[in-house]
Amino acid sequence: MKLTVAITGINATDNPGPGITVARALRAHPDFKGRIVGLAYDTLDPGIYASEMIDDVFLIPYPSAGVEALQDRLRYINERVHLDVILPTLDSELPNFIASVKVLDELKIGHFMPTQEQLDLRSKQHLVELGERADLPVPKTKVVNDVSEIFEFKDLKYPVFVKGVFYGAIRATNINEAAAAFYATVAKWGLPVLIQEATHGDEIDVVAVGDGKGGLIGAVAMKKTFLTDKGKGWAGIAVRDPQALDATRRFVEATKWRGPFELEVMKDEATGEINVLEINPRFPAWCFLSAGAGANLPYACTLLAAGQSVNPEDYSTYEAGTMFVRIAIDQIVSLKDFQEIATTGELIRTLAKNPEL
């Protein structure tokens, strides 16, 4: 398959964006022979310099610059390298990409994203509503816009997690800690803030792709086996947890989710009960495990975005017990590459590497 695929989220830091792992999963598929274009936000995004994964790079405007700025940039990038498919991988940029679907269609750039309605439904502030709609157990969650509301919730059991709308979770063991965490969260992520009762058990995460009609293309469950001090999984193991996989199916059926997502659940092994903690509307940074375990979901998503058909049976099984252990490496970067991206906002390597493309 010869496609030019643009991928965002190539900020592979200690809290990595998923872009590099999505690119790596495509590279790992024997049928993929295409070109990968990285869309970066910063000149020091590490993925810019991962030339074995990313062929060409363009800087794109931050989401706060708005939809038109993104669309103008995509038009320019498409003129330069002719994109077949685009795979956004970051929560914060998705609204702008979803709002640009018409432009993407005009430019004949394939995509496989959820609708804005689906995106809103799985957002943290609508988790309780989603739980009712999809018959998913979710922890007791309150949406808070003013610190005084925290003191009014008499039925909330501590400890709780105080969460930002997009990212971040601070554990609080009493009302005063929750109030302090509220201010810290507002300062970083804005309003609203979510207060969620802590649940017991082990966290299990599922990466999956929904077909947009209520069906599941594939799903791979993983248990983290080593965490960083930010609570990010640095190692994990593929598992076949029936409750987590069943919750994934129910979520897709209820929302007719289109595209990749990550479902996070907390499972109490003693009772077998699960609670859905959140649903992220994109591939997680550990999604290369799906390729390693035998169900290459980023590749499936790329095919779907390119308008090709995908047989879910090809992604229905995976090898439980497949592990990942992340590694941090220092890339050596030539000043020439840095200069080019810093001054022109783009770095084209394809012609030197492969004149056929």
């Binding site: 082990d202 003693a270 017990g321």
Partner: protein, 91 residues
């Protein structure tokens, strides 16, 4: 015969005693006697057969070793790690 539990049946066990539970991702290690009991439980063997197998395979000194107690302890270990249900009994 006991009806082996699904999770028990799906345990991945290798000859050196490394055990992987694909449902939870948990890994364990066990000795040769544990391997023998696990294999028998996966086959749904009753307690009496498991005890006979252990006697036939290992040097058991009657009076010093209590095979029934060893089997019970092993089953408790499986329960504690959720490999078998808490109400599982070995007939």
């Amino acid at each position: 015969m006991n009806q082996p539990q699904e999770r028990l049946k799906d345990l991945a066990v290798n000859d050196s005693g490394f055990v992987f539970d694909p449902y939870s991702g948990a890994t364990f290690s066990t000795n040769a006697a544990g391997l023998k009991i696990l294999a028998a439980l996966k086959d749904g063997e009753p307690r009496a057969n498991i005890a006979t197998m252990l006697r036939d395979t290992f040097e058991v000194i009657e009076g010093e070793n209590d095979i029934d107690r060893d089997i019970d302890e092993f089953v408790q270990l499986l329960k504690r790690n959720y490999v078998v249900d808490s109400d599982f009994t070995l007939e």
